[in-house]
Structures are given as C-alpha cells and as structure tokens.
C-alpha cells in the first residue's frame, strides 16, 4: 500500500513535527509512505479568496503529483477537504481534470479517518500522560466527517484522560485569511474557544488542523496562558519521539 503523504504548506513552514508524527503513525500501521518532493499547496488560500485561476493551477499540480498513489493522506481536515469536496467545483468546466481529480478525491483521506477506517490501527505509539480536550475543526468535521475517529484513537492511549470540550464543534475563528482580514472578530471567536478550554481544565487541547492550532495557541498565549499545550492529534498519538 503506497500512501502519498501531503504534509501541507502550513506544516512545512510552521510545525514540521506534525508531518513526522503523521508519517510515524502511518508506518507503524504498515503503510509505505511516499512524499512527493515537488508538492506545495492544495490551492485553498486562492480558492477561498476568489482567485479561482490561481487555485486551479495549484490543484492541477497536486493531482498530477498524487494520482499515482493508492491513497492521499493529509494531517489536516481542511486541506484534505479541499481536495475531496472542492476540486470538483474547481474543475467543473474541464472534463479531463474533473475525472482525474474525482479519482484522487475518492482516495483522499484525513489522517485519523485513514488510521481508523483504512489501516484499522489497534495501537498508537504515543506516551502522553495527562488530560486532554478535543476541538473539532470545521472542515474535518463538516467536510470529512471526522468526529469519532480522533476520540477512538485517543481512547487507545492509557495515560490520557479525555475531557469533552463545551461547544467543541464551534469554529475557533481561524478561517484562513479571515483571521487577518477580520482580526478582531477572529480573536473574539478564539477567545470564546480559549474560555471553554480553560474551563475544561485539561493539560492540552488537541485538534487536527494546524491553522486552528496557531489561532488557539496564539490567543491562549496572549491571554497569558503559557501552560496549556496545543497539540496536533498526530503529535499526541505518535508521541514525543516522533
């Protein structure tokens, strides 16, 4: 099984440890991970900002890079959701690309969904001990159907106590470029999220999208909370040595 790993541009630049953690999890479950070296961005920033042509160019590039793999897996509900649910719209006027992107979309997975439902992983290597709370990032939840998968995986970790987060399905306010264009509203939403995280009393908040992580961690720190850790689900599951 050749799994094409789309590490995403944000992980590339901001937090490589997520990429290594994801690879460790995939390999621990027996997958052969292939990382297309020329990969960059799925096109979502342009797509959501109205630059359709820019997005089409990047999507075309990504399809060519990954279509030879058995699967495409990304440690992000947002980027995998872009490929799985939005490429069809991008290529609506191009029958050939519509067919090719459709074939890729059919084998595109968000990491935890893939671990649970394809690899059917039964053990996770992570060694975290303490309490965590889980935030459902929007695209993972509403585009990729990621809800129980991360919780099931966390449930396999002996030392971890999962505390449910109030309003765990409410947006953290990131929203891509929204976070900068409407910084004040974005910050307010992040602040609401931080309030519920604080109330959960968990040692760490865990989630599956780096954009939301930066938003939540950025607000937590500005609020003066230097203690609550903000972890990607892959980092939690793979453990420190990833």
């Amino acid at each position: 099984m050749r799994v094409g790993f789309f590490f995403t541009c944000l992980v590339d630049l901001m937090r490589p440890s997520i990429g290594f953690a994801a690879i460790r999890l995939l390999e621990s479950a027996g997958a052969t991970v292939y990382v297309p070296p020329s990969q960059t961005c799925c096109g979502q920033p342009g797509y959501n900002s109205g630059d359709r042509q820019g997005a089409i160019a990047l999507a075309t590039k990504l399809v060519a890079e990954f279509e030879g793999c058995d699967y495409l897996v990304a440690p992000s509900g947002s980027c995998s959701g872009m490929i799985k649910t939005h490429y069809a719209d991008l290529f609506r006027d191009d029958p050939d690309m519509l067919r090719r992107s459709g074939a890729l979309a059919a084998k595109t997975w968000e990491l935890t969904d893939f671990l649970v439902n394809v690899l059917k992983i039964d053990r996770v290597p992570g060694n975290f001990t303490g309490s965590v709370t889980y935030h459902d990032s929007c695209a993972g939840l509403r585009e990729m159907g990621v809800k129980q998968q991360p919780r099931a995986l966390i449930g396999k970790m002996r030392g971890v106590e999962l505390r449910e987060l109030t309003e765990c399905e409410t947006c953290c306010g990131f929203g891509g470029t929204f976070s900068i264009k409407y910084g004040e509203i974005s910050t307010r939403l992040a602040d609401n999220k931080c309030e519920f995280i604080a109330r959960s009393g968990a040692d760490a908040v865990v989630l599956g999208d780096l954009g939301c992580m930066l938003n939540i961690e950025g607000r937590l720190r500005r609020r003066g909370d230097m203690k609550t850790r903000v972890l990607h689900i892959a980092e939690l599951l793979a453990g420190e040595s990833a």
Partner: protein, 472 residues
C-alpha cells in the same frame, strides 16, 4: 432601508464592545440553537425531510415564471388583485395607491422583511397616513424611532427586557413594568384599539401557494390573523421567490420551518388566506391585494447565487453562525443579517455596496448544515468572493499577495527556498519564547493574538535530510 453594510468592520467593533448587547446575544444559543436541536428529534428522518424541502423549493424556482402565472390566475379567480413591484419604490407606490383608492387613513401591519427593503413605513408616514406595526418585536423597534431589525424572525432580539420596559414607560407614559407578561399585556392593550380602527392591514407572506392562490403566514402572536381579517383591505407583500406549487409542498416545508426557526413543532398560528370575503362569509378582507416583489430577485434567479432564493427565512443560519452570535445583526448593515444576509445583501443592493459581507465568514459551514433547504451558504459566499476578485473590488495588496502565492507555490524549487528563508525569519522573530508578538503586514492577527513561531527548518528540509541519512 439605509444601507450601512460598507461600515461592517466599524459596526462589528462597536457591537462587540457593547456589553448589554453581548449579554442579549448570549441568549441565542439557549433560545434558538438548543430548542431547534430538541425539536428535530421529533422527526424520524431529518435529512430526508430536509432533502424533500430542498426539492420543493428548487422545483418552484426552476419554473418560477410558470408558477407565478398559475398563482396569478388562481388568486385573481378568488377575487384578489396581483400587483408586480419591480423595484422597492414600486412596493411603496402600490401600497399608497391602494390606500388612496380605498380612502385609507390608518394601516396596521404584521411582520414583513420585504417591506424593510423599501422602508415602507417611512413612505406611508411621508404620505400623511398612520401605520402601526403589530408584531411585538417590530412594534418595539417602531416606537424606538424605527430602529432597524437585527434578526429576521426576532427583530428586537438585541434588546433586553429592561430596555423594553424603559422604552414602553417612556413612549406609553405608563408605570415601569418588570415582567415580560406585563409588557406583552401593555403592548396588547395599545395594539387592540388600532386593530379595530384600521382601514387596511399589511402582511408579509411566508409562502404564496400557486395551486390555490393563497398566502401562508406563519406567526406566534396572532397579530397577523387580526391584521389580515379585521380591516376591509388586506395587502400581502412578499418576494417573487416565495412561490410554492401546492399546499402539500407547504406541509413539507412546515415540518422544518418552525422547528428550524424557534424549535417549535408548529408555530402558534398558521394562516392560509385565500381570496376576498365571499357572500355569507364572516371572516376576511373585502379587498385583497398581493404585491409580488422583484427588487433584484429575478437577477439572482438567472445567476450563480440562485440557490439563495430557496431561503424560507427561518433564521437558523444566523442563530448558528459564530460570527453573527458575536457581532449581532446590526453589524451587517441592511435588512438581512448573518450568512443568508451576506449573500442577499450584495445580490439585492449591489456587490460593491457590501464588500465585507461575503468575506466576513470563517466558512465553517455550520450555517450550511443547519439550513432546512440546504443552501450551500459558504459556497455562495465564495462565488461572491470570486466576483469581487474578478471585478478588481479587492485591495491591490490582497490581489498581489494571492497572485504571488500561486506563482510561488507553482515553482517547487523556489517555493522550497522561500519557505526555508521564511521559517528562519519567523524563528528569529519568535525569539526564545517562540512567540511572535507583532507581525509586519499581519497586525490583524497580532493585535489580539501571538503567532507561535516555527523552530527554524521546514518539513521539506528535515525530511530530505532524514531520507539522505537513511540512505548513507
């Protein structure tokens, strides 16, 4: 209605800083969100019902011209008069003409958001006639010098009980009341006299039923029933998209409308009004008019935002929107707030007059999943963003940034180099605590948040090094 949508950011800022408003907005979650969720449990197949409701609305839109003609024929046959309003001004003109024809001096009105588009009440008063809103929320706003509504089904949702108490005492000249029941009774007492003395009643229309020529009104206070049956003239005003083919279709939609709106299985009142009062009939108006409003809708019907016209005005999208919940309806600057407003406002009054609205969304799609007629709201917001981009309505810096990004990301070697440099700069900026407190060009982020800084090397670099290490 005055358009303030271009002041979105400023209004949102003010409203986020208004502590009283924030307390009032907090109630939305318990009031609407929780009740909707509880009421949907009664349906054994929510998604199936939702799909049926979507299909009903879509069927109407797909042949809207034909259904409108059928409606006109059937309504006319029952003695009603159909008037077409191409513009908001036409709405006002028609209403004033009708009033003049029947010697009307006093008008009572039940809720109509369409009439807000044309600021109908102001036009009526300018013509020297009296108009009284009878929906409690609308009445509160009217006596507060026509404050604009902040929500499509709870127009005065932004007001607390205490604010209404003060307002009533001031305007009615009565003693300050404290209970909601007392306040309602006071409003009722004031309004009852008007029902009996009005010459004309204006209502909105939740649905126009093609097969019977009826208008359907979904209300909770009973005011619409009185408004439409006591005066001798009834004028129902609604958008041309509100057509549904059959009464059975109405039944399908009614399974979701009250549940999505207020979490009720059924609203307290559902009026289905057909034709004028016939010989021997006790209830009903002697003269019945339908004002069917275009005001931008036919243009939407022909374009890529068409699905927005499926809207049945339940308000679920705004009730569930994290942005709306925090900034309130007035921030959106026109008649329709929240996610559906972010589509309808630019569609009806011009994309260039509401540039922020389709952008001011995290695209979390909570609105899309609760919409009872499956309007893909974030997708429509994205289409408006594309139109803004194509028509050069975005700032040049944003355009340049996006073009630069897609150019760079299309060149892997250059991209790898740029991200290597970028990661190092960000790491340096983050210092020892690995937090960036101020980002040049990114103050929108760092005014309220830190930016967690990277460690200094990109994933690509580290991965390449690891693979090389394994090979050697």
């Amino acid at each position: 209605m005055q358009v303030a949508s271009m002041h979105f950011k400023e209004l949102a800022h003010q409203n986020m800083g208004n502590a009283q408003l924030q307390r009032n907005l907090d109630k939305i979650k318990g009031k609407f969100v929780a009740k909707r969720r509880e009421s949907l449990v009664e349906l054994d197949d929510f998604e199936g019902t939702r799909e049926a409701a979507r299909a009903v609305r879509q069927r109407a839109l797909d042949n809207l011209d034909a259904w409108l003609q059928i409606f006109e024929k059937n309504a006319t046959a029952r003695g009603a008069t159909i008037l077409w309003a191409e513009t908001p001004d036409d709405v006002n003109r028609h209403v004033l003409d009708i009033a003049a024809r029947h010697g009307v001096r006093k008008i009572i009105k039940s809720k109509s958001m369409v009439s807000e588009e044309s600021a109908l009440n102001r036009a009526i008063e300018a013509a020297g006639l009296q108009v009284i809103e009878t929906d409690l929320g609308e009445y509160i706003l009217q006596i507060n010098d026509y404050e604009p509504p902040s929500h499509i089904i709870g127009p005065a949702l932004h007001k607390s009980k205490e604010e209404v108490s003060d307002l009533f005492a001031r305007v009615h000249g009565t003693a300050l009341k404290t209970g909601i029941g007392e306040l309602c009774l006071e409003a009722r007492k004031v309004l009852r006299t008007h029902y009996l003395s009005a010459d004309m009643g204006i209502s909105g229309g939740n649905f126009f039923v093609a097969e019977t020529g009826s208008v359907v009104l979904v209300t909770n206070e009973g005011n619409a029933t009185l408004t439409t049956t006591l005066p001798k003239v009834h004028v129902a005003i609604s958008g041309l998209e509100k057509i549904v083919p059959t009464l059975e279709d109405v039944a399908t939609l009614m399974r979701l409308l009250p549940r999505s709106a207020t979490g009720q299985s059924i609203s307290n009142y559902v009026d289905i009004l057909t034709g004028t009062k016939g010989a021997g009939e006790f209830h009903g108006a002697e003269h019945m008019y339908f004002v069917i409003v275009d005001a931008g809708r036919s243009g939407v019907l022909a374009g890529e935002l068409k699905e927005a016209l499926r809207c049945i005005r339940c308000g679920a999208c705004m009730n569930h929107c994290p942005v709306y919940q925090n900034i309130g309806g007035h921030s959106y600057g026109w008649v329709y707030p929240g996610p559906i407003g972010s589509i309808l406002t630019p569609a009806y009054i011009g994309i260039e007059n509401a540039l922020d609205l389709p952008q001011a969304s995290t695209m979390c799609n909570q609105c899309g999943v609760v919409c009872p007629v499956k309007i893909p709201l974030p997708d429509l917001q994205r289409k408006l963003r594309e139109q803004q981009f194509d028509r050069h309505l975005r700032p040049w810096s944003e355009r340049l940034g996006l073009r630069l990004w897609s150019w760079l990301a299309g060149k892997p070697v250059l991209f790898a180099f740029a991200t290597r440099v970028g990661a190092r700069i960000l790491a340096w900026m983050g210092g020892r605590e690995r937090l960036i407190h101020k980002l040049p060009l990114g103050s929108g982020w760092t005014d309220g948040r830190d930016m967690p800084a990277p460690a200094g090397k990109t994933f690509r670099e580290l991965y390449t090094a690891r693979v090389r290490g394994e090979r050697s």
